[in-house]
């Protein structure tokens, strides 16, 4: 065979590395590149396009949009935590009509692959959002943010219950173009993330995005009250990375055919590679964008290097590679 063999052990940084085929897919969404922005960490792409060419990414995942304009919560909306941050933005946004007219139109004109993230307070709202998106071009996939309180169920979060999660995905599937893949974004704040993944897959999800933030809280010691206006907030950043890798691993193990968009504290290419090896087909870079506005494209470049250094000729052959049996040994040295 002519292709390089998978290698483990120390990496020699001086070696000239071959290019890696970075193409991947999430359901029938084929993309030449595997790194995405994360919803809520890139607005609708325009601001980051000042720092790097957003069309070079796998795609832009836009901030979750609801039917109506929404002010979001009172400040403070953010608290820095060790290797992470808490946020309680409260899904501030312009509403779907304004989003389609302005943000989506800009992304389409810019030529960026776009994953539109939607959020609702009821199953019906998710269905209506999907129906709105059915009328417009230029969408690569829909991400369904199910980590919202269900106003019809005492504010219980959809993502924490398999039936509610499934109902939302069914509503989106029924109202969407069959050619548009649906990605369900899962919360780690559940007893069994695999059972939620199974439920959304059965309901028609083509892929899952794993993980959303995990609920946290900080007390301000000066005021001796909660630091955030929203009291609790979503924890993100490198602090939650091991939890995210675990979730990707568990889902890939149980449902190896279900494509995963992995995320949670990815800071560099080697972090991203952990997610790929655990079973993600693509990854999103979120909170670290606040630390480095060029992070998504940098991580994508570093991921290619990290794959090449280990002898992968394609990203696809690295997906889930950490799950291989003991009989598949890595080759320590290249052979003739």
């Amino acid at each position: 065979m002519s292709r390089a063999l998978i290698t483990s052990g120390p990496i020699d940084p001086t070696v000239n590395l071959p290019a890696v085929d970075m193409s991947t897919s999430l359901g029938y969404f084929e993309t030449p590149a595997p790194v995405f922005t994360a919803s809520g960490c890139a607005a609708a792409g325009k601001e980051l396009d000042q720092f790097f060419d957003i069309t070079q990414l796998g795609g832009i995942v836009t901030k979750s949009v609801m039917m109506n304009a929404r002010s979001g919560r009172a400040t403070p909306r953010m608290a820095e935590t060790p290797s992470g941050m808490l946020n309680s933005i409260g899904l501030q946004g312009p509403g779907i009509d304004s989003f389609i007219e302005n943000d989506l139109a800009w992304l389409r004109q810019r030529g960026a692959r776009t994953v539109v993230s939607i959020a609702g307070g009821s199953v019906e709202e998710y269905g209506k959002l999907a129906a709105k998106l059915r009328t417009v071009d230029g969408i690569s996939a829909i991400e369904v943010n199910i980590s919202c309180p269900n106003v019809e169920d005492r504010g219980q979060v959809f993502a924490c219950d398999p039936n509610s999660s499934a109902q939302v995905i069914q509503a989106v599937r029924r109202n969407s173009d069959t050619k548009i893949p649906i990605i369900a974004k899962l919360s780690p704040d559940v007893t069994s993330i695999v059972s939620i993944a199974q439920a959304v897959e059965r309901a028609g999800a083509d892929a899952v995005a794993v993980i959303n933030t995990t609920l946290g809280m900080v007390i301000n010691l000066e005021t001796m009250r909660p630091a955030l206006g929203g009291i609790t907030g979503g924890l993100s950043g490198p602090a939650i990375r091991p939890m995210a890798v675990r979730c990707v691993w568990q889902i890939h193990q149980a449902l190896p055919q279900l494509p995963i968009l992995g995320m949670g504290g990815i800071r560099n290419g080697e972090d991203a590679l952990q997610f790929i090896l655990a079973g993600a087909s693509a990854v999103s870079v979120g909170t670290v964008t606040f630390h480095d506005p060029s992070a998504p494209i940098r991580v994508q470049q570093e991921l290619e290097i990290a794959l090449a250094q280990r002898g992968f000729a394609t990203l696809r052959e690295a997906i889930g590679f950490a799950h291989r049996g003991p009989d598949v040994a890595v080759i320590e040295e290249e052979q003739e």
Partner: protein
Amino acid sequence: MAPLQITGQVLDVRRAGMYTVLSLTAPGLAERTRAGHFLNIGIGGEESGLLLRRSFAIYQVQSRGVYGGSVDIVVGVHGKGTQWLVDRRRHDNLSIVGPLGRPFTLPKEPANCILVGGGYGTAPLFMLADQLRERGCRVDVIAGAATEEKLFGTLEIKRAASTLTVTTDDGSLGVQGRVTDVLEDIITKTQADVVYACGPMGMLAAVAEIATARGVYSQCSVEESMACGVGVCMTCVLPVIGDDGITRMVRSCVEGPVFRGDRVRWSDVGTVPPDTLGAPTGGH
């Protein structure tokens, strides 16, 4: 013009009373900077546990010189991040993004301008004073702080101002009291057309209220805690009335930090007023 993301080297770290002035190499930044712009700096290096960048008003820029352009900022230590920053030494590298935000708007015709700085909120006013004077404007400066040691750059700003009035809460320097205690008088004496202000939110609210009541146009550079500084995180919002009369929660990093004083709903900062676009109707 788009902001730059660059690595700057520390040229100098010097104490200025309670504050620290950092001079950094910043090729290309000076040419893009106008008074009121800010920049942000990554804290703690690549593997830092402190993820959020710290934002600073741009104090001075130099477009030429041996370093091919440099920028100065004024740092007050408020926590671990700013402490790390003032502990930097010559030749250390820092990640800089800037210039960011919307700068002060300058009058088209020569005008009488009052510049009000609270604490080290005077930092962006030096460049502003120079730019205003270049346009033939009269510049009067009011600098206030709790105590003398919390003032910044009062001797230096005097050079660019027709008059300088200093206030301190404890009377340790200048007039005992607040900047707002002297503002009305100075508006009258100078027949001011515009008031520019930078400092703590409480001071800005009071300055804007007086200016608006006197029919004087005001521009305030706000201090909201930010995460990204480039418009993607939606952290640094405050309620601002738009040209259409509708209140929105707007990002101070990209739509500010300079706002018209009569447009910010100062008493509602930290809340979402019920008449804000998209405000919650029930539970949220």
